[in-house]
């Protein structure tokens, strides 16, 4: 196959952006994606089989058959898990990656989120660290992402965000009924509610129409293509340049290196399972935190016996995601309005600045709930089956509000991805093994956040509440792995909440002994291999990470193009 300038592994949030930036700059690009290219027509509105509720599998990959992982529980027990099970920590496998079916909250991290160690000090047992770049470094690229991907919303009501040069390109969608209940209550509490920034068209934008506000949103494909991911924004632009070829259903096996330790391309299994090679001047790994780490670890050679970029045993460490906690409020009037996307109001008052807590997180109302989501979210004391449960479903499905949010995790080097020594996937490659958990302080913060959510709901007139925090939910998470990844997890069981928000496994840093890539996402050891996705996040903010993944991708692409000189890089 023809040698190209760059081969990119993974067509998700980051890979699609890198492909577009490089192709527009004139580089020849091959974009490899293990999944398929779905479209709006693949929206099945199936509440039992989607990316969020996976009882019957994931709608947008990977399939349960042939894609196992191994999860190590808190007692050291090994479990083979499938993509539809919680401990698998799945995101998605398709063109667009998670951005094809996400809820599409598109937050900037705060300036403080990039210097967590300086602000708070690292608690013992944690690997809390500062990013080697700042909010100011990323600001122009946040803006670029907001305009090129297309974000609606309005930050203007909160003083707690970093400076920005331009407002968001689209106004927020009109508020739903929950906004009307929660907004005044938040203001009475002295909080600063805002309209959630969303990668969702509120008005026609980028040649596509606005959201039609159906109830099938987070976890589903958008039927009217109003939700903006890499699959309907940057990837089509990349392909239209004529410089980028997208190959779907191609699973990369390893990064190839020469005897001087430079990458020469990748080998991959094509859609027919045949092993192919794609030679390239540079290799960009954008497979998400679990799979990017796996690919580096599986790329072993004489010079890299423990995997590429892994000289100091850093690849796969510091796995992060988000601990979601909050509260349920029960009201004596209908709060449900059947209008998607549901989530529309948020506060950022509690992300930083609480004495005794190292950080916090954003709190927002939950995406629109389907009946299947209400089953285990009934008032405390409701029987789990029988006539009283059925009546409670009728009483409360339309009368609950959930406030919940992602607590910024305090990372631990022991929360990590390795490759399993014996279990292989359908291509015969060693699979991801996941072990460890984030630092326990994370859960202490999460519990405080839950109480704050509860207070907000009570102020809004809730007649009853239920905490979604570690203490209240420790029992629930014990049986079948929690398929609803939005729910809270049992702490300290070895089950780290990572999943769709997974990050951290190829940390960005100046010190090669404590990180995997430098501040422009270039692997320390190998100057023509880059990791560009959430893997490089040093810490993961108290927000949904998608927009930061996109901003880092624009930022790293900019540096890559700037440093490109023919077939190599300026040193």
């Amino acid at each position: 196959m023809k040698r190209v300038n760059a081969v990119i592994v993974g067509a998700g949030a980051a890979g699609g952006i890198v492909a577009k930036e490089l192709a527009v700059a004139g580089l020849g690009v091959v974009l490899l994606e293990r999944g398929k290219w779905y479209t709006a027509n693949d929206c099945r509105k199936d509440d039992l089989r989607n990316q969020r509720t996976t009882f019957l599998g994931n709608a947008f990959g990977p399939e349960d058959e042939g894609n196992p992982r191994v999860w190590v529980d808190g007692d050291g027990g090994l479990h083979n898990v499938m993509p539809s099970e919680g401990p698998y920590q799945n995101n998605a496998a398709c063109v667009g990656g998670g951005t094809f079916s996400y809820g599409a909250q598109a937050w900037r991290y705060m300036p403080q989120d990039f210097k967590m160690r300086s602000l708070y000090g690292a608690p013992e047992g944690s690997s809390l660290e500062d990013w080697p770049i700042t909010y100011d470094d990323l600001e122009p690229f946040y803006e670029k992402a907001e305009y090129e991907i297309g974000i609606s919303g309005d930050y203007s009501g909160t003083p707690y965000h970093g400076l920005r040069k331009r407002p968001l390109p689209m106004p927020p969608l009109p508020p739903g009924r929950e906004f009307g209940v929660l907004g005044p209550a938040a203001r009475r509490l002295g909080l600063h509610p805002i309209h959630i920034p969303m990668a969702r068209n509120s008005v026609p934008y980028n040649g596509r129409g606005p959201c039609m506000r159906c109830r099938w949103c987070c976890g589903f494909a958008c039927e009217v293509d109003a939700k903006n991911g890499s699959q309907n924004t940057v990837i089509p632009i990349a392909l239209n340049t004529g410089n980028c070829e997208l190959r779907t259903e191609c699973m990369v096996k390893e990064i190839l290196t020469d005897d001087r330790g430079r990458a020469t391309g990748v080998s991959y299994f094509d859609e027919n399972g045949h092993l192919q090679q794609q030679l390239a001047d540079t290799v960009i790994v954008s497979g998400c935190a679990t799979e990017s780490a796996r690919l580096l670890l599986n790329s072993k050679s004489r010079l890299f016996p423990n995997g590429l970029g892994n000289r100091y045993d850093q690849v796969g460490r510091n796995l992060q995601g988000h601990q979601y906690t909050g509260a349920l409020g029960y009201f004596d009037f209908d709060t449900y309005d059947d209008i998607g996307p549901g989530a529309d109001i948020a506060i950022c008052d509690y992300n930083h600045g609480t004495p005794g807590l190292r950080g916090g997180g954003m709190l927002a109302n939950e995406f629109i709930r389907l009946p299947i989501h209400t089953l285990d979210r009934l008032p405390n004391g409701t029987p789990t089956w029988g006539p009283a449960h059925k009546k409670a479903m009728r009483d409360w499905h339309r009368r609950t509000i959930v406030i919940i949010g992602p607590t910024q995790q305090i990372p631990s080097a022991e929360a990590r991805i390795t490759v399993d020594p014996s279990v292989k996937d359908k291509w015969g490659m060693p699979v991801v093994r996941i072990q460890g958990n984030c630092h326990p302080h994370t859960y202490e913060i999460g519990d405080v956040q839950a109480e704050r959510a509860q207070k907000w709901l009570l102020e809004a007139g809730a007649i009853d509440t239920r905490l979604l925090s570690q203490a209240q939910n420790a029992e629930k998470a014990t049986h079948v792995p929690d398929a609803n990844k939005g729910g809270p997890h049992k702490p300290h069981s070895g089950l780290i909440p990572a999943a769709q928000h997974q990050a951290g496994t190829c940390r960005m840093g100046d010190d090669p002994k404590g990180s995997v890539v430098n501040k422009v996402c270039q692997v320390h050891d190998v100057d023509n291999v880059f990791v560009i996705d959430a893997s490089v996040h040093v810490t993961n903010g108290g927000f949904n990470p998608a927009l930061t993944i996109m901003a880092v991708a624009f930022y790293a692409s900019n540096a890559l193009v700037h440093n490109w000189k023919g077939t190599g890089f300026r040193s």
């Binding site: 099945r44 509105k45 199936d46 509440d47 039992l48 009882f55 019957l56 599998g57 349960d64 539809s84 309005d154 203007s156 009501g157 106004p171 927020p172 969608l173 009109p174 508020p175 906004f179 509610p193 805002i194 309209h195 509120s202 008005v203 606005p210 039609m212 506000r213 159906c214 109830r215 099938w216 449900y336 059947d338 209008i339 389907l370 009946p371 299947i372 089953l375 789990t384 089956w385 029988g386 006539p387 449960h389 059925k390 009546k391 479903m393 009728r394 499905h397 339309r398 049986h479 079948v480």
Partner: protein, 181 residues
């Protein structure tokens, strides 16, 4: 697996089919060529399972689990994604029936409703993992998408006041007038 005798479950199924849209149900029956038999369950197992499901979601002003096709849902999934639970069902249903016979001298499906409640309560403590599996699957079949064989005519969604199909193309919202904050 394919019992030729027509047990209680089949009778219930025919009853439901007759009560709902008879002609449509008949067409579906012909298409499968199974004439009311199950893909995984025996009729006897279906009777036992149905009794458990109907205690988990009993009839009140709205149908119970089996009336909206929960057994159909579980049976279909047991030869699809839930193949991995086949042994748990075989074993769990057998133990459930044995427990009922020991306690009441009859199989679970033959008991009166009040006795079934007592028997199912016993199962929930004697076989907590199996019961949790059935509870979860029953809820999926009752409250989940009709496309998978349960929640016939979206009856549970209507019960909860969630319109089906959802209104599309909500033109009543003036998108030009975003809220000011």
């Amino acid at each position: 697996m394919q019992s030729s005798t027509k047990g209680g479950a089949l009778t219930r199924r025919q009853f439901v089919a007759a009560g709902a849209t008879g002609s449509v149900a008949a067409v579906i029956g012909c298409k499968s060529g199974r004439q009311g038999n199950w893909e995984f369950l025996s009729d006897e197992q279906a009777g036992t399972l149905g009794a458990i499901c109907d205690q988990i979601i009993p009839a009140d002003g709205f149908p119970n689990a089996t009336q909206v096709g929960v057994l159909n849902y579980i049976d279909k999934q047991l030869v699809r994604p839930y193949r991995r639970h086949q042994d748990a069902y075989r074993d769990g249903l057998q133990k459930s029936d044995a427990s009922s016979r020991k306690r009441f001298g009859k199989g679970l499906a033959e008991l009166a409703l009040a006795q079934q409640l007592e028997a199912v309560t016993a199962i929930s403590s004697e076989q907590p993992e199996f019961f949790e599996l059935v509870r979860s699957h029953t809820f999926q079949g009752y409250y989940g998408s009709p496309r998978h064989g349960g929640n016939r005519d979206a009856v549970s969604w209507k019960m909860l006041g969630v319109p089906e199909p959802p209104v599309r193309g909500r033109a009543q919202y003036d998108l030009g007038k975003g809220p000011q904050s």
